[in-house]
């Protein structure tokens, strides 16, 4: 029975495995440390969790890890609405009514796929899932198997590797991680916004096809970095925001030949307004304007 399930599931993911994408990452500083810890954790048979604010590259690092170890990558972002079936899979009721609880009626979910194919599975934002859903992971983590009603127990491939990723507690909902699951996560890797050199290198990597002068990049970084220490901002701008501003600035340079502070502040404003979250009662536009004004000292540039 087990081999039947495995065969069927393997066919289902064949295409996905072939189309594995190439991931580029700046593997230095905290990312190198985290990568090495992932390797050591897997060697030691320990389950890791990566904790960090949104946009610091948690998923990207896991994807890169999967790519470097030549395994398929599966991930699910969990929230209050996630059900166990979104992870394990479920029976199609129409087929069940016709043929009963057979293997044909079962549609596997990403966790089942990862277990059978020996892939890397990332449970994104694990601390947002309800305890009911969190408990689904207990058996795969402890016994490396899962019991699917009416079908039987499936065993995980030896190279199946589970990684949890989550936001720091203050950014998440009020769900606490179940104690049973918490006890099974043994390595807690924390990521934060990278240092200046690493972040600029990441931006350069993502804007390889563009030319951006170093002084402009420095200004972009200074603006984004200010959002991370501003007391009125609850969720600061991530690396994605730095890359977006850099790309837009580069497009402007390509078109116009150069970019001045006025144009740069306009671009930064357009990106930052959507990528930060201010504390309650504080207007986003005002904070963004004051940050840009402070950094670029270009009062007149802001309408």
């Amino acid at each position: 029975m087990e081999s039947d399930i495995a065969k069927r599931i393997l066919t289902a993911v064949k295409r996905a495995s072939h189309e594995r994408e190439q991931v580029q990452i700046v593997l230095k500083g905290q990312y190198l440390e985290a990568y090495e810890l992932l390797k050591d954790a897997e060697t030691a048979g320990l389950t890791p969790a990566i904790i960090g604010p949104p946009g610091v590259g948690k998923t990207l690092l896991c994807r890169y890890y999967a790519m470097m170890t030549g395994r398929p990558f599966f991930w699910v972002t969990l929230d209050e609405g996630t059900k166990p079936s979104h992870l394990i899979g479920s029976f199609n009721p129409a087929v069940v009514l016709e043929k009963g609880f057979t293997i044909e009626a079962f549609e596997p979910g990403p966790l089942t796929l990862a277990m059978v194919t020996g892939g890397v599975f990332v449970a994104n934002e694990l601390n947002r899932a309800s305890e009911y859903v969190q408990n689904v992971f207990l058996e795969p983590l402890e016994e490396r198997s899962y019991y699917i009603p009416h079908i039987g127990r499936i065993k995980a491939d030896s190279s199946f590797f589970f990684i949890a990723s989550m936001n720091p507690a203050e950014l998440a909902g009020v769900h606490r991680m179940s104690e049973a699951l918490r006890d099974r996560i043994q390595v807690w890797i924390t990521l934060t916004y990278p240092d200046k050199d690493t972040e600029l290198e990441i931006v350069r990597l993502h804007c390889r096809e563009h030319y951006i002068p170093d002084d402009i990049l420095e200004k972009i970084y200074a603006i984004v970095a200010r959002t991370r220490s501003h007391s009125a901002i609850e969720k600061p701008a991530s690396i994605r925001a730095t890359v977006s501003i850099a790309k837009l600035a580069a497009e402007h340079i390509k078109r116009e030949g150069s970019i001045d502070d006025k144009e740069l502040s306009k671009i930064a404003r357009h990106v930052l307004i959507g990528s930060i979250k201010t504390r309650p009662g504080i207007k986003r536009e005002e904070v963004v304007n004051s940050i840009i004004e402070d950094v670029l000292k270009a009062k007149e540039a802001i309408g």
């Binding site: 905290q30 440390e33 090495e36 810890l37 390797k39 050591d40 954790a41 060697t43 030691a44 048979g45 320990l46 904790i51 960090g52 059900k83 166990p84 079936s85 979104h86 394990i88 479920s90 029976f91 009721p93 129409a94 009514l97 016709e98 009603p149 009416h150 720091p168 507690a169 203050e170 909902g173 009020v174 769900h175 606490r176 104690e179 918490r182 006890d183 043994q186 390595v187 807690w188 890797i189 924390t190 990521l191 934060t192 916004y193 240092d195 200046k196 970095a225 991370r228 220490s229 007391s231 609850e234 504390r279 309650p280 009662g281």
Partner: protein, 687 residues
Amino acid sequence: MKNINLDVEEFSLEFIRKLRSRCDVEHLRPSVRQSIALTKLLKAMLNRKSVLRVEDYVRAALAITPPELKDVALIVLQEMFGYAQYKYTPFQTRTLLPLFPPLFRSRVLPSFESLDEKARRILSKVISGNPTAIKDYENLAKEDPVKAARLFHRLRLLNIPSSVKREYAKVLSENISTLLQFSEVVRFVKVIPSDINKILKNAYERYSLSQAYKLADKIDRILNSNMRELIVKYYWNQSKREGRTIPLEEVALSPAPIKEWQLLLRSAIEYDIARALKSDNPIKQLKGLEKQLKQYMDMYDERWCIKPLRKCLNLVRKKIKELNKEEVGDKISPLRKLFKRKPKLKTDEIAMMNYKEAYRTLEHYEVNYDELLKKAIKHRNKEAIAAMAHRDLVRTLKAAKRLNALPQVLESLTAGPGENLLKEWYRSRRRMNPSLRELVRDYVKEVLIRLSISYTISNLGGLEGGLLPSYTLRPYEPGEDPSLVDIEESLDNILSQGKIPRYVRYEDLLVMSEERGKAAVIMLNDISGSMAGEKELYMSLCSMMLLYAFRNQDLGIALFESNTYVLKRIEENVEIDDIADELLNVDALGGTCISAALLWAQEQFSMSRARNKFLMIFSDCAFYDYETALRILSNLVKSGIRIFVIVPAWSYDEQVVKTMMNMGIQIIFVKDLKQLPYVTAEIINTI
């Protein structure tokens, strides 16, 4: 960075043992699993690198530690790698010298704040002896001096040469550039900015005098320095240079025992007088000014504050006199003197009165308590004795002791309306000696319980409140146990739609589920401030009402000021008697910090499986830690918790209340504290 030869197993066991001994939270306490994990991880590292350094041990130990304990883990690692605590000498310069004591009541400062990930990394680098740590620290200090100060607070405990510590202190002091940063930094470490003039200049450009003075006051309270004086001097010199007059209100709220403050005051009052004289009704304007100055004088006790203000007052009065002599003069003083002294009444009359009459009479008439008590006991008039005790508990008890009549007085305490006794208890309990206080408390407790039952019954209609469990039919959700499907209901549903099996979908199958009916309610009561007596009485009554109403629900109650007092946790079974004891014993220290209470509430909600969650807060919202508080409140709102904040209409922090309203929090204003139980009952009824 040196290689060390440590036994991996021994290190793991020792680290976990130390971490466990320092962990106060039961569910976070590390287990044997973590020791095994650390050993495994270190061995994997050893296989990969063939040699382990201090930084590897630090990294591995931090990696197996859950986020909540990482800060504690760093302290344990500090200890394990031989860093001892040493006595800290603050880095002070001669620019700031102690001059005059703080004028306002000091607030309790947070004793410990956790580090963020960046700072934690730098600290682990310092522990591992990594030379790049100072560079990282410099970057952090440039980016955020407050975070750097928080880290320095920890660094100073390390057993590294003091020259290195001075280097870190220097980096920090060079990067403090605003008064706000300075005031935040000194909360953690006593480091003075290298350029005070830059700070003063920046303050003058950014803040009004009173704002700058408030920040300087925070600094002075911690450093015992003269920052307020420097601020006042700088503002005087700059305003003089610019020909600008600082408003009277700003100056009056920023007093300093220096000539410059008097000059600022003089210039402000002259400006205001000149403006008043130009107005349509100069006398009215000047009288307003006179009233304002009197209020400022009432605010201070110090002679050096009052004297210059009196001079200004005299100046204003002189102007008024010049303008209209008839307006000046104290016409009411003889009458006031007459009414100030309470007339005396014969004690015989009061000793025969009923409670209501006696209580009212004692408010207006001066009586000899010994004499009155003697006569009331003679007449066996319990109501009169109760009225005496409810009017002045300490005085009555003292008289009873002198007359050896303590049992009679204690027996009579419960006569009359309980509210008066409770109010008097909260007002005067601190003045009683402990043994007497214990004795009286039992009687007061009886009254509190009796009163809360009557409030609950009259407002909620009974003592058995709460929500009833109900059953609902809902569509089957993919992934659920198929045995949950209610076959009959599902068949009915499918047949009524006329579907054949091929077209049956998930949502056609129905599941009968029990609505848990449970509600989780948490009440946080602000006990800070000077409204002792009445406020505490009504809060106690509300807490007791909630206890009766939600006896079968998840209920949590806490009181807060600078500290948080947990009366009942959500899953705790408590005796009403014990809660009443606690409510009667709580002593407020002052200061309003709600964050800890909110975090406690958040934790309690996370433990409850109830679907409906409610948070009730009674406070004037003048939170010292409002930034953190608003962040936590916003998280609570986002997670679907309904929040009601009951605010006293006569005094509250407008800005914070407005922000809370914008967040979708329901604000209920009460005009009178007596309304508090009714408002609570209304909220309970909506739940």
